[in-house]
Assembly symmetry: C2
Homo-oligomer: 404 residues x 2
């Protein structure tokens, strides 16, 4: 009789955002007259920018004619997109990354879940706490995390690096040496980030102890401060210790279009084995490329028109972030983030757990946020609001929260 991968049974409950969706749907079904405002899941609301829509239409037309039809894409992505990425996201910023170190994918969620496959089964992972659930859950499925204590919500074999107001959301080097360090900067869910100097210390640490940093830069477009790195490769030595994951979801509104990429530098090796070559092999074996039309859309992100339109889109969301931050402060809340990221991280009112506050906000204000404890034990007592709503809805949500 066949047997299953029993690691799946270790996963507590369901994926955070599925749980939220179920709760909201149930409330909505019971209260059909209530207008719910969703500032929970980090999904964008602004339409795809005109320059990108134009590129999509053009690519669709190409697919409709034999002379310009495109079948299977190159395993690792089309050259036109890999070149645009290497030039705009790296070389223009002084980072020496070449197109053959860039791997186009269907999004950073897939990449961040799949990247662990390159590493030994007994690799020790370190995560910030709170953290994007995919990093831990994908390692649970691979059997790397030990046993789960439902009381503390802690996995026995995961190294947690608490990030709370107490340490200004700056993770400290762990006592135990990790093999893999997941860093999401600017951070989801806290909306905070590290200075470039602090990031350099992490790169130096990783090189010193022989760890790999999985650097999730999905929110890079929201960086507004000068002393924050736009890529981990701005740090000296990052090419021997870091893999960078990037998304088109948040800078270009591609949550429903699906496009991302990973950078695996040639210098990143274990013994003589190149991780770049391993990732290329994985792409070739387990993936068949992002759609041609979507890769053309990605290319348009880097056109002069695309860049100008997306700058406006990011500014639109950051106006929301500022409004939330100020509005919540006025209402007496303690708030973090929102300066280099589209997330606001707030302390729940005295005595309320994160899920208490979730229910309270849903039922009393019909506003959906994300409970901090869903991101890890140190998220307890915090709550995440996103700036990805419309400006009107964001203001309306704030009015409702202020009236509570």
């Amino acid at each position: 009789m066949f047997q299953i991968n029993t690691n799946y049974q270790k996963l507590p409950g369901s994926y955070l955002f599925s749980t939220i969706a179920k709760k909201v749907n149930a409330y909505s079904a019971a209260n059909p007259d209530k207008k719910i405002i969703r500032l929970g899941i980090g999904d964008v609301t602004q339409p795809i920018a005109p320059a990108i829509i134009e590129a999509l239409h053009k690519a669709v037309d190409e697919m409709g004619h034999a002379e310009t039809f495109h079948g299977y894409a190159p395993d690792l992505g089309y050259d036109f997109l890999r070149k645009a990425i290497a030039q705009n996201d790296y070389r223009d910023r002084g980072c020496d990354i070449s197109e053959d170190e860039i791997f186009v994918s269907d999004g950073a969620k897939s990449d961040s879940a799949n990247i662990q496959e390159l590493f030994a089964a007994d690799s020790k992972i370190a995560v910030c706490d709170p953290v994007y659930p995919v990093y831990v859950d994908s390692n649970v499925m691979a059997g790397r995390t030990g046993t789960y204590d439902p009381k503390t919500e802690i996995w026995s074999d995961v190294i947690y690096m608490p990030c709370t107001a107490d340490n200004h959301f700056v993770p400290e080097f762990p006592k135990e040496t990790p093999d893999l360090i997941y860093l999401c900067l600017p951070n989801n869910p806290t909306g905070t980030t590290l200075t470039k100097d602090k990031l350099q210390e992490w790169v130096d640490y990783a090189n010193r102890v022989g760890a790999v940093i999985i650097y999730d830069g999905a929110y890079e477009a929201y960086i507004s401060e000068e002393n924050v790195a736009h890529s981990v490769y701005e740090c000296d030595g990052a090419k021997t210790c870091a893999i960078e994951l990037k998304s088109f979801s948040k800078n270009a509104g591609f949550t429903g279009v699906r496009l991302g990429y990973a950078v695996v530098p040639k210098e990143l090796k274990c013994g003589g084995v190149s991780l770049r070559d391993m990732w290329a092999r994985r792409h070739g074996t387990k993936f068949n490329g992002a759609p041609y039309i979507v890769q053309r859309a990605g290319e348009a992100v880097y056109s002069p028109e695309g860049k100008a339109q997306l700058k406006e889109q990011v500014a639109y969301y950051m106006k929301n972030a500022a409004a939330i931050k100020e509005g919540l402060k006025d209402a007496g809340y303690t708030v973090f983030g929102g300066v280099n990221a589209p997330y606001i991280w707030l302390k729940t009112p005295e005595g309320m757990t994160s899920w208490d506050f979730f229910d309270y906000l849903l039922e009393q204000a019909n506003v959906v946020g994300t409970p901090g404890s869903g991101f890890g034990p140190s998220g307890e007592g915090y709550f995440r609001l996103t700036a990805f709503g419309t400006y009107e809805n964001t203001l309306a949500a704030l009015e409702r929260i202020k009236k509570l």
Copy 2:
């Protein structure tokens, strides 16, 4: 110091189609004046059908306006597509499959590589030989295949089921009991298939020994004979032992559009654990849905116009298949397949290995095919040609082969 997943190093050489691409590129660079005809990789050449192009344009327009913009898709696929699949591919054929057993993905290659994750690390896999390389390679990466003998090209822990002219390409029940049985029907690479009665025997066998059949139905649209099942669920008892993978690549030309789906029936369980729920959890954690515009394109595949246009497209390729089969026979070759599948499987001329014949055909006729041995040891002495070229190129390739 971090360690890698050393299973990757066990993989011999590179992925088959990458190797072919490299050889062809090298020949092409050295002989820029030669016009190469590619009948190797199973990539389509006909443009996307008009009804689908229209659906794509419409969906792109929706993405450009706030009122009709779509962000993250539902984890498991949009209802409109899952319903169209359940109705057209299953219920209309008398198979009792519901939409919540259907999981939309970015293609059958990803699904067929990822599905093994649901099973125990020591699961024993059985594959037809020759076989689509992804089934074995994805299990190599997961450490299930033992050691590789480069001389015999055999993995110590894989159960091989030879399919050659000697047994009319019908796999026999293996001596050792497998946990997972990969069946691709109609078959890639041999272009042959099983009768429905024979498939029923396999379903009965799987239920009897407690194995799961991973049923790859990517080429279902090419079935022309009455006594061949279009879905494994046409067989009694398949819902307790089979997962079906389907692709839009070959029936609708989506190789560069990327769309597929998996069916995991609710009745498929290990002890009390539902594999459907496990796959749902995997989708929720490691995948973020296929693009909205692509799912709308998938829906158009099932519209009356879409169906009519795709019937013509399949007929076009099957005309190629018939031409190749007849042409090769006339030229004295022994050929198989091509009746229920877009692949022709031929015996290489006396004394030539599959790769010898690959080089011979590339250099003497400038025609690219796929060496049978690339699909497994029992593929040695065979060679695959695809019917996915244009009709003109197909005839031209045949003329060149006849002149050899």
